[in-house]
Subunit: 311 residues, 2 copies
Amino acid sequence: MLEHIPTKEDILAAHERIKPYIHRTQVFSSHWFDDRVGKPCVFKGEHLQKTGAFKARGAMNAVLVNAEIAQGKGFITHSSGNHGAALAWAAAQIGESAYIIMPENAPKTKVAAVRQYGGNITFCAPTLEARETTAAEVQSQTGALLVHPYNNYDIIAGQSTATLELLEEHPGLRTLYLPVGGGGLLSGAALANHYFGNAKVVGCEPNASGDAYQSFQSGHWVPAQNHHTIAEGLKTSLGDKTFEIITNYVDEIMMVSEEEMKEAWKFAVGRLKQLVEPSAAAGLAVALKHKGEGPAGIILCGGNMDLDPWS
Amino acid sequence: MLEHIPTKEDILAAHERIKPYIHRTQVFSSHWFDDRVGKPCVFKGEHLQKTGAFKARGAMNAVLVNAEIAQGKGFITHSSGNHGAALAWAAAQIGESAYIIMPENAPKTKVAAVRQYGGNITFCAPTLEARETTAAEVQSQTGALLVHPYNNYDIIAGQSTATLELLEEHPGLRTLYLPVGGGGLLSGAALANHYFGNAKVVGCEPNASGDAYQSFQSGHWVPAQNHHTIAEGLKTSLGDKTFEIITNYVDEIMMVSEEEMKEAWKFAVGRLKQLVEPSAAAGLAVALKHKGEGPAGIILCGGNMDLDPWS
């Protein structure tokens, strides 16, 4: 288990470790988008990653690093989002159990995804307190190892590999756009860029959940307010580990409105024909208005959302 | 202008002709889908084609073949669907005008697509009669060349190139699934398979618009009934040219319900993270229940549909 900010070697080792399990996701571009923003851009399709999100990278790395400690007891987390499904999937890859604590009101597809990967679900009241109490109970019964969704260096090292791959293929990128919720993807990207790239790193956050922006600007950790945003995955507060890395290695955090994210989402779906989740649209929306240098790279972080045009 | 059923050489020539303009679209697969159907399948992503549909192939071929005849006068069609946008796009590639007759109630995105490619739109009442009358008027004013959406051998030769590419990359395919509306894609695929492949060719049609099925079974051309289906692109009747080719070179036509198409669409969006239009889901839906031999190939014909989860 990593006890320090991942080094260059830690990131390369994480990549080698998870390579046999994850997809090296496709990188593509759009003339229309390039024309709109006036610079060449590349999109890395982590919505095409195992479990439909970059979260598979961090979860797989954490599971492999901690396989011996968790042997026969499994892994546990209380994320209701993509991390829950990713941890269930990752644990299953090495034949271990995963215990996922989910709020009773979690979307059906998220519950179905965890089940599909063989995760053991315990439902609880939809409060942070209930989640933590329930997780502690299940943990004491099972001895499973808690894997935090982002405030964990093994997770951060795993997430950094998305940006590592992008920089391997496009070493000349001058700007990188990444959505920020808990900060696992952004801090991993900032480290990968620090060691292997030369881009400005821009975190992308909804106005409705501007805690990372406020934390970054003030230099003091600010918790997320529970405001509504279509980018559900970005409502989380930073952790102390991700906050520290972001403070030191990220260049800027820019916020976007709900309307800007919706427009960006419609671009992804209408032009790229790629189903991304609204959190990924936050990165696209910032890229559409930010005056950063090109070429730019945008990580489409995930593609898990409910869509039923005929309901 | 081709006056006969495209030969092997006609198809190869069409492919060479349009190659500089079109995308050689990506072919991909899904373990989940293979497990569901019990055989290996490949998907050809024509939703990623120029203009978001395979229609760009036929339109580009027809425009290039007839460039001299239409020089300075342009091209005209009265398709309200993907063919209208494709013809506008194709004409613009060689600097010619395109006149697109559209019903007043055409979806806004279809109108926007035609405009975006520089097409000149004339609106008319939403009846076949009004379309034909209006087209005749505009044609007499402009001298533009009428390019039928499917009952045209240059169009059919162009559409056949999607299957040609798929068979070049996967020569061992044993079954091919293609949606059928007017029959341009299906008849082109059947010819490409006849010359270059060795698969059973299966046309895929909504129950609500079973005219191709009825025509194929009875051996007599049956017109489409105007029943509602989510697969708008497949409501059209066969033409005499496509009917003849389908009768001679297609192995089977199978129908699917609206529910089966919705389920297949949700698979494409939820699992593949690819936005396809409901017409493409007809092919997937047949592939999900048909007992054809593997490996199978499925052409995802297009990706143009309105989606607004927040409206």
